[in-house]
Symmetry: C2
Subunit: 339 residues, 2 copies
DNA sequence: TGGAGTTACGTTATCGTTATCTCAATCCTG
DNA sequence: CAGGATTGAGATAACGATAACGTAACTCCA
């Protein structure tokens, strides 16, 4: 026999009437501002409970110009790298009273710009952008009107945003150096999206290591940062496969996407080609041979970014930029030296 | 020499003053309501452009009691099953003018309840709940105040919500039947979260198929629906492994988590144990042996759910419930019959 | 006992938008 | 060219919550 819920949800005025006080008093009680008598307080709380009153977030936001919402923009939510970052960010945001609005850009700069505008409309109190794909000028313009911004893996505009960067350069350098020591000489690079700053960092790392040994890249091909990108690289690489004995991939997905086509073409990993990914997504440890990669503490990264963002929202721009080091994880696609 | 952006973002009144008209006229022009002269229209648009005016979503929502935001609640965003659903939902929501607020519950009913309340505060116009973990009563109470709800894989409360279900029962039945035909007799079930309705459906499918052959389950163990859950099942299973020659897993992650421990214990897949997962996440086709699984059109699922939700928001409750069939994908963990 | 200080509320105005009403100017149409 | 229809635009009043201010009643001590 329960009634249909009223079409209109109860407002503070409804509660006030039910409790026989003014809306202002209800507001005071519910926000613990004090200045309300014990008896009144009780009546208000009872009324609010009875009506299952929930303050209207819009009205509140309109009044104080704060949404208690923060955004996070990622290139592709289906890429396993990003959900972990989102989870980390959410883990910090929620206890701090913020709702996280996560937005998917599907690797499209236009979409990124659009999303940044949408977040502005929603008046988020701040936002995190992962691996921005916009060029510097458009990115700057898009973040300028925002109250607080943290960029992950994009060290542009330090004046207007905090930054957290993974030191891919050093990580990749170390891995390539080790591979050279293991006898690899002819390196290819599956470079990922051309617009990625992280991609350029990885390239610098490779080239630095190679240069120290008088070597240079044999292949350097852009591709989408997913399994299919790896498959496409494989297709283009196969005719001239003998030119390469080690592939460094922008991320694990690309590396994993490479493995099956190589195998089907009779090219052995790691005997013919050593393979290195980046990110250490869970799948990389499940395939055979297991994939050597650079591990990034993804959830930590998300947590750090959110903490930095909340600091900036609160006006405490304590740290402008953080650099975190990736960990090389040596697995079967890059065998140890014999002996 | 550009000025610092004003602390306060421009309002419709600012635009009105710049254009020398009333705010109402600006509103009309910007919303294409007509009733504005050509010359006026031009001036307003110019002024809005010049100030890079963006209407305040709060004020708008407060006025028309619509947020143009919909929520989607998932148990765990790190589980690769869900990002694809989210992407599908977003692909439909955005062109329709809706922002998608995706919320992560981390497999915790309390959190789920909390999130549903938060979405109520934010006055979402509707929401999709994936694999709700709340019991019927609490779920019903939590969704009652919402304007429109679609449940994925949870056929409770058809009166208050649209539902989309995967017919796991039939899918699992078909797979188990085939495995029996291939000679497997002793089945174990890694059942996933006890609160999952989908888990019960899978169990029904297994038991139906087994019953037709006078068989019954040897193992039926709950576990978390992730790699670690699989590893734990493996640990508990190992002492008595000989009792089982086929494992059906709640999802691919569990199955994949099982594989390495089994291998390390010298148990061969598929020779000693056939292995079946569910969902067909990308990793399942990358491991060796590749995992047999039930494929679910995850992105389609998300798209369908969002279309259904938008229908319900618009008051068109055309279809109450949809059932979609999973596709068995036969791979190496369940070898074909010899001959 | 009277004025200052305190407590417990209520009133008013405001955030930015827009539905509704109003009004003036312009347009036909017979 | 009178009178009704149409068009362009402004004024007003909400939406729900709350900051700022106002006020009545009470406390307290000289």
């Amino acid at each position: 026999m329960d009634m249909k819920p009223a079409l209109r949800s109860p407002t503070i005025t409804d509660v006030a009437e039910a409790a026989g006080v003014s809306p202002m008093t209800v507001s005071r009680v519910l926000n613990g501002r004090g200045g309300a008598g014990e008896e009144t307080r009780r009546r208000v709380l009872e009324a609010a409970q009875a009506l299952s009153y929930r303050p209207n977030a819009f009205a509140k936001s309109l009044k104080n110009d704060r949404s208690n919402t923060v955004g996070i923009v990622v290139p592709d939510i289906v890429n396993p790298f990003f959900p972990e970052i989102i989870r980390g960010a959410e883990l910090v945001a929620r206890p701090a009273g913020y709702t996280l609005l996560s937005c998917n850009v599907v690797e499209d700069p236009e979409r990124e710009e659009e999303v940044l505008g949408m977040l502005l409309d929603k008046r988020v109190d701040g936002l995190i952008i992962c691996s921005a794909r916009l060029d510097d000028e458009r990115l700057l313009r898009a973040i300028a009107p925002h109250r607080a911004v943290v960029l992950i893996n994009r060290a542009a505009a330090k004046r207007h945003a905090g930054t957290i960067e993974v030191d891919y350069r050093a990580g990749v350098d170390a891995v390539v150096t080790q591979l050279i020591a293991q006898g690899r000489r002819r390196f290819g690079f599956a470079a990922g999206p051309a617009a990625s700053q992280g991609g350029r960092k990885r390239r610098e790392g490779i080239e630095a290591a190679l240069a120290r040994h008088g070597l240079s890249l044999v292949f350097d091909l852009p591709c989408t940062p997913d399994l299919q990108g790896g498959a496409e690289i494989a297709a283009r690489l196969l005719p001239e496969i003998a030119q390469v004995d080690a592939m460094i991939c922008y991320n694990d997905l690309i590396a994993l996407g490479l493995m099956k086509p190589l195998e089907q073409a009779g090219i052995r990993v790691p005997e013919d080609i050593a393979l290195v990914g980046c990110d250490d997504i869970p799948a990389s440890d499940l395939v055979s041979p297991a994939l050597t990669t650079l591990r990034i503490a993804k959830q930590d990264l998300g947590e750090m970014a959110m903490r930095m963002l909340l600091d900036r929202i609160a006006g405490r721009n304590t740290q402008q930029g953080i650099v975190i080091e990736p960990d090389p994880i040596w697995r079967a696609t890059t065998p140890r030296l014999p002996g």
